[in-house]
Subunit: 155 residues, 2 copies
Amino acid sequence: MRLLLIHSDYIEYEAQKKTAMAEEDILGKDSLNDAITAFCAVESIDEEDLSDVVSQAAAEILATAEKVNAERVMIYPYAHLSNDLATPDRAVAALKALESALSERIEVKRAPFGWYKSFKLSCKGHPLSELSRTIVPGGADAPAKKEVSREWFVL
Amino acid sequence: MRLLLIHSDYIEYEAQKKTAMAEEDILGKDSLNDAITAFCAVESIDEEDLSDVVSQAAAEILATAEKVNAERVMIYPYAHLSNDLATPDRAVAALKALESALSERIEVKRAPFGWYKSFKLSCKGHPLSELSRTIVPGGADAPAKKEVSREWFVL
Ligand SMILES: [Mg+2]
């Protein structure tokens, strides 16, 4: 899973148009203030152990939220972060599981998968306000593979 | 070069803090309305032929601007799009060359490299408003390698 985490003054979205893989029964419009916007791309390799990838992603997002003192998370599906995506049904399952895992610890909303959406975002711009991470299966119980997880980038 | 092109109602940035690789003599704050925001990551492979990558990138950005009827481009350095970045001096050279190439055809601004920046962005949300592309050296005069360029993604 590729993650791009942006500490945001606000994130707002509005679903505009379905794609062929549009999730049904969605909230068409929503927003959060002072939140981590978690742009997520679920990758094909993640299908090897979706639940492991989801728990690693949840841990990363929570650690970042704590570090920057953010109390809310907007999960935002973002296929543009990867060239090797999971199938849409697996991606939606992972994003729902991520929402569920985070909801035990923090306020969380999730933008719908498979819709063209307009959005407005304000990135705070402090040194920890933009972080990216690649997560692969085999984190917690396979430390050797964990090293594939990549370092944070700045700018 | 990785490109993420967002057809934006507005893009505004403000430089907040230098990193170790900060460009000097910058415009600390700027904005554009109804523009293509071109998030760019210059990659190490691009160093094999920077000028080729720059001309391919300029062509992609111009084609997209024409398609969506945008008359302005904000070049926005965005290292988070790649795990294998060019050296900072090559990246700045490429981004300046891209600015120069685009300026012959369209109004263009460039956000500074190597600064932590706050930004505000509004993505229009129509089907062509978010496009990503990976460009590699060897486009125009080496069609065989061109196939490495990847397809547009939706959502
Ligand atoms: Mg496991």
